[in-house]
Amino acid sequence: MRKAYFLGEKFLALVDLPDDKEINVSIRHNGELVGEPNELPVDKETADFIKENKNEVVLDITNNKIIKLTKEEKSPNI
């Protein structure tokens, strides 16, 4: 199971766990429970991209795609 979690468009976490288990993931951000984070299954290539650029990725909610931010767009809160 390889999934990326976003709060809105903001990157929160990338989870990579074996498939042979029942897994339930919950996330808190700034102490608040993120009720329904945007959850996106990702392939290995995308996961590697996120790991390399974890401070510069957001979710394009409309197209459900992960995009890389420019330096100007980079969120200081990520």
Binding site: D16, I23, I27
Partner: protein, 168 residues
């Protein structure tokens, strides 16, 4: 152990000298079989054919967690080839940044290359529950919680060994 009171000169007071009174055996440490002495319990004294074998199952995962974010993973492992298992210990290593012997966060001597901020701003909890196993004897639930309170995203690698007794 039968005895009488001859040495005390009291046998003449017994009603039937042919059936002297008995007094309880004095119990002292010498009377105990050594197998009940805790210091005598050793592998050699265990009947290995009659005790259950301890087994383990690995749980591994990698996580990239943003700042001020807490990730909770509830994991349920089903043992399809066993009808009943009992959970024992959950041994967990949490690596930060990369998996080697200088990045083990929950250690004393093996976290040499982890940045000070990452060490200080990471919280980690790993625990097994008991209720799920009581309700479903071939399942064991475990929860892992990793918190990144730092100012940068981090990569975490979780390597755990879930040990259990295969009962049947």
């Amino acid at each position: 152990m039968l005895t009488d009171y001859q040495e005390l000169g009291l046998n003449k007071f017994l009603i039937n000298n042919n059936s002297p009174m008995t007094r309880p055996v004095v119990i002292n440490s010498v009377n105990f079989d050594s197998q009940f002495d805790t210091s005598a319990v050793s592998i050699d004294k265990l009947n290995k054919n009659s005790i259950f074998k301890l087994s383990s199952k690995l749980v591994q995962g990698t996580f990239t967690i943003g700042t001020n974010t807490q990730l909770t993973i509830n994991s349920l492992t089903t043992f399809s080839k066993r009808k009943e298992v009992r959970s024992m210990a959950l041994l967990s290593d949490l690596y930060i940044t990369q998996r080697d012997d200088t990045h083990v966060w929950n250690s004393v001597s093996l976290k040499g290359d982890i940045g000070t901020n990452a060490v200080a701003n990471t919280k980690f909890v790993a625990t097994m529950g008991q209720r799920e196993n009581q309700l479903n004897n071939n399942k064991i639930g475990a929860t892992f919680q990793i918190t990144n309170d730092g100012t940068a995203s981090n990569d975490y690698i979780l390597d755990t060994r879930l040990s259990y007794i295969p009962v049947r």
